[in-house]
C-alpha cells in the first residue's frame, strides 16, 4: 500500500508539473507585446497559478518519495494523509479557477488553504517520524520542519512592505533555497547511498541560508558572504562528482540546475554591488525556477527508477533542452534588465521592448519542456505499479 501511494503521489506531482507548464506558457505569452487576454485573464492570475502549481508539485513529489523510502506496510494514518493531501490539492485547484488566490508574490495561497496545508504537513511529519529509521531521515524531517515554519510565518499579518520584505527570506527563500534542496539531497542519497549525505547536507544548509538572506544585505559582512559562497560551490562540486559517474542523467541535470540557482546566482545576489542591481528582475524569478526545476529533475530520476524507465530517452533530452533554453533566455534577459534599467536608467517599458526576442526564446523553451512533461505524464499514467 505504501509503495502504491508513493507512486500515485509521484504521478500527482508529474500532473501538477504539466499544469505548471501550461501556466508557465500563459505567463510567458503575457510578456509579448500583444495579449488578447490582458484583462480577462490578467497576469496576476496566471503567475499565481504558476507559483502555486510548482510549489504543490515539489511538495507532493518530495512527500511521495519520502513515503516510498520511509513507510512500510499499511497504515490508516498514511491513507488519511494521502486522502487529505489530495483533497488539499483539489481545493487549491478550485480556488485558483475561482480566483481566490491572494496578491502576494510567491505566497498566493489563501490563509485557509495555508492552514489546511500546515495541518496535513504535521500529519506527514508524524508518519515519517514513526517510519523506518533510515540513515539521514532526520535531515529530511528537518527540511519538512523548515517548510512548515516558512508557511507558518506567511500566516503572520504584515502591515508594512519593509517587514514583508524582511520576512520573505524565511517565508519564500527558506523554502526554495534551503528546505527543498535539503530534502532533494536526502532523496538523492536514498536513491544512491554512496554520497557523504551529512557533509553535503551541512554545506547545503549554510549555502542555502546565505542565499536566502542575500536580498536583505543587512549585515556589513555581505561581501564576506559572497566570498564564502564561492568556495562552497567548489566544495559542493567535489561531493557531487561521485554522482555523475553513474550515468543518472536526471540526477546530473538536477545538480547543474542547483549549481546555477544556489551557486552562480546565489553568489551574484550575495555581492551587494551586483545584488542591488539584480533584485526584482527576471534573475530573481529564474533563480526560484531553477531551484524548483532542480528538485523536479531529481524526482524524475526517482520516477524513472521506480518505473524501470530509461533515463536517457527522448523525454529527458526534450525536457533538458527546454529547461536550458528557458533558463538561458531568462538569465540573459535579467542581465540586460539589470544593466539597462538599474545602471543606465533606461525605462522599464523600453527595456522590455528591447529584450522581447529573449521572451520568444523563453516561450520556445517552455513549449519544449512542457511537451516533454506531457509525454512523461502520459507514460506514467499508462504504467501500472
Amino acid at each position: 500500500m505504501a509503495k502504491r501511494i508513493a507512486y500515485q503521489m509521484l504521478v500527482q506531482a508529474s500532473l501538477l508539473l504539466l499544469f505548471y507548464a501550461a501556466a508557465s506558457l500563459f505567463t510567458g505569452v503575457k510578456f509579448l507585446p500583444t495579449d488578447a487576454l490582458a484583462t480577462s485573464l490578467p497576469f496576476m492570475q496566471v503567475s499565481a497559478l504558476k507559483h502555486i502549481l510548482l510549489d504543490a508539485a515539489l511538495l507532493t513529489g518530495l512527500l511521495g518519495a519520502a513515503v516510498y523510502f520511509l513507510v512500510v506496510g499499511d497504515s490508516p494514518l498514511l491513507i488519511w494523509a494521502y486522502r487529505l493531501w489530495t483533497v488539499f490539492l483539489l481545493a487549491t485547484g478550485v480556488a485558483g479557477v475561482l480566483g481566490y488566490f491572494e496578491g502576494r508574490h510567491m505566497l498566493e495561497l489563501p490563509y485557509y488553504l495555508d492552514i489546511a496545508q500546515l495541518v496535513v504537513l504535521v500529519l506527514w511529519l508524524l508518519i515519517f517520524v514513526q517510519g523506518k529509521a533510515n540513515m539521514a531521515r532526520e535531515i529530511f524531517l528537518a527540511a519538512l520542519l523548515i517548510i512548515g515554519v516558512s508557511y507558518s510565518f506567511s500566516l503572520i499579518p504584515i502591515q508594512s512592505p519593509l517587514y514583508d520584505r524582511i520576512l520573505r527570506v524565511l517565508m519564500v527563500n527558506g523554502r526554495y533555497f534551503l528546505a527543498y534542496p535539503l530534502a532533494a539531497v536526502v532523496i538523492a542519497y536514498w536513491m544512491k547511498p554512496d554520497i557523504q549525505v551529512y557533509q553535503v547536507a551541512s554545506a547545503m544548509v549554510i549555502l542555502g541560508s546565505m542565499v536566502s538572506i542575500a536580498p536583505l544585505t543587512a549585515t556589513g559582512a555581505v561581501w564576506a558572504t559572497g566570498i564564502i559562497i564561492a568556495p562552497l560551490i567548489f566544495l559542493f562540486a567535489l561531493f557531487i562528482t561521485r554522482m555523475t559517474i553513474s550515468g543518472d542523467y536526471w540526477g546530473n541535470l538536477s545538480l547543474v540546475l542547483m549549481m546555477l540557482s544556489l551557486g552562480v546566482l546565489g553568489a551574484a545576489f550575495a555581492v551587494p554591488a551586483l545584488g542591488m542591481h539584480m533584485l526584482g528582475t527576471q534573475l530573481t524569478e529564474v533563480q526560484y525556477d531553477l531551484a524548483g526545476w532542480a528538485v523536479m529533475s531529481l524526482l524524475f530520476s526517482l520516477i524513472c527508477q521506480l518505473s524501470e524507465d530509461n533515463h536517457q530517452g527522448f523525454r529527458f533530452w526534450l525536457i533538458a533542452a527546454g529547461l536550458v533554453t528557458s533558463a538561458a533566455a531568462l538569465i540573459i534577459a535579467g542581465v540586460a534588465q539589470s544593466f539597462m534599467e538599474r545602471v543606465l536608467s533606461i525605462g522599464y517599458l523600453d527595456t522590455q521592448n528591447t529584450i522581447l526576442s529573449l521572451y520568444i526564446i523563453w516561450i520556445i523553451g517552455i513549449l519544449l519542456w512542457g511537451f516533454g512533461i506531457l509525454l512523461q505524464s502520459f507514460r506514467l499514467l499508462r504504467r501500472d505499479i
Partner: protein, 246 residues
C-alpha cells in the same frame, strides 16, 4: 559526529536568520495608518503580482518604489483610474473598480516608499524609470541643479512628471515625440522668428502651431490650464540646458 555536524550547521543557519532579520532596517517601526491601509489595498488588488517594491514582487510591470517622486500624485491618480490611456500600445494594466479613497491610500503608501521609508534613499541603485532614459532623476544631479539653479531643478522635476513619458533627452531616442537632445540649438534655428525660449514656451502652450516633420499632432493641448506660468518658465529653463554636445 555526522549528525553533530549537521546539527551545528542548522544552529549556524538559525543564528544567521535571527541576526539578519533582527537587524534589518524598519523591522519594528510603525506605519502611519493611511500607509498601512494603502499597503493592505496593494495586496488585496494584487499589485505585488506585477509590480515590485524594493525589488520584491512580480516583474511584469515597473518597480514602484520611487514612482511618487518620478510621476507625482496627479499622474498616479489619473493612471489608476484609466491605466490604458497612458501607454496605449504597451503592456496593459487591468482596470480595477477602485474608489478615490482607496487610490488616496495607495498613493499615501507610494509617497512613503518614495520619501519616508527608512531605506528610501538606499534602494534601488538608481530610481527606476517607467519610460524614457538618461538618468535624469538621479538624486545627485538634482541636488547639483538645485545648488546651481533652482528654476532648472524645478523644471527637471516637472519634466519627469509631465514630459518624460513621451520625450526622451538622449540623442536618437524617440518615444512618442522628438527627443529634447540639442533642443536649445534647434529651437533657435526653427525659422519662426522667435527666440529659443519663446519657441519652447509656445510649443508647450500651443503644440499644434508648429509640428516637427515626421511627428503627428499628439501632444496634450491643455498645459496652459494644468501648468502655472512659473512651472512653464521652469520647464523652459530646464529645456534650454539641452545644447548639442552635452
Amino acid at each position: 559526529m555526522n549528525r553533530l555536524l549537521f546539527g551545528l550547521s542548522l544552529f549556524i543557519s538559525f543564528v544567521l536568520f535571527v541576526y539578519v532579520i533582527g537587524n534589518s532596517q524598519g523591522a519594528m517601526g510603525s506605519l502611519p495608518q493611511e500607509v498601512a491601509v494603502g499597503y493592505q489595498l496593494w495586496r488585496e488588488y494584487g499589485c505585488e503580482s506585477c509590480h515590485t517594491l524594493y525589488g520584491q514582487g512580480g516583474n511584469y510591470a515597473p518597480d514602484l518604489t520611487h514612482i511618487y517622486t518620478l510621476r507625482g500624485e496627479d499622474y498616479l491618480r489619473e493612471f489608476m483610474v484609466n491605466p490604458a490611456a497612458r501607454h496605449p500600445n504597451q503592456r496593459l494594466m487591468p482596470r480595477f473598480t477602485i474608489t478615490q479613497e482607496e487610490i488616496g491610500s495607495i498613493i499615501a503608501m507610494l509617497r512613503w516608499t518614495s520619501n519616508d521609508s527608512p531605506i528610501a534613499e538606499s534602494w534601488p541603485p538608481n530610481p527606476i524609470q517607467v519610460l524614457g532614459s538618461g538618468g535624469f532623476a538621479s538624486s545627485q544631479s538634482s541636488a547639483q541643479d538645485a545648488i546651481n539653479n533652482p528654476l532648472v531643478a524645478e523644471g527637471r522635476q516637472i519634466y519627469s512628471q509631465r514630459c518624460a513619458s513621451c520625450h526622451a533627452i538622449d540623442e536618437g531616442v524617440i518615444l512618442v515625440g522628438p527627443s529634447f537632445y540639442g533642443l536649445a540649438n534647434r529651437a533657435a534655428e526653427r525659422g519662426t522668428g522667435q527666440s529659443a525660449e519663446d519657441y519652447i514656451r509656445d510649443s508647450i502652450l500651443y503644440p499644434s502651431d508648429y509640428l516637427v516633420e515626421g511627428y503627428g499632432d499628439l501632444m496634450q493641448k491643455n498645459f496652459a490650464e494644468v501648468l502655472s506660468s512659473d512651472e512653464i518658465n521652469a520647464i523652459t529653463a530646464y529645456l534650454m540646458t539641452f545644447t548639442e554636445g552635452e
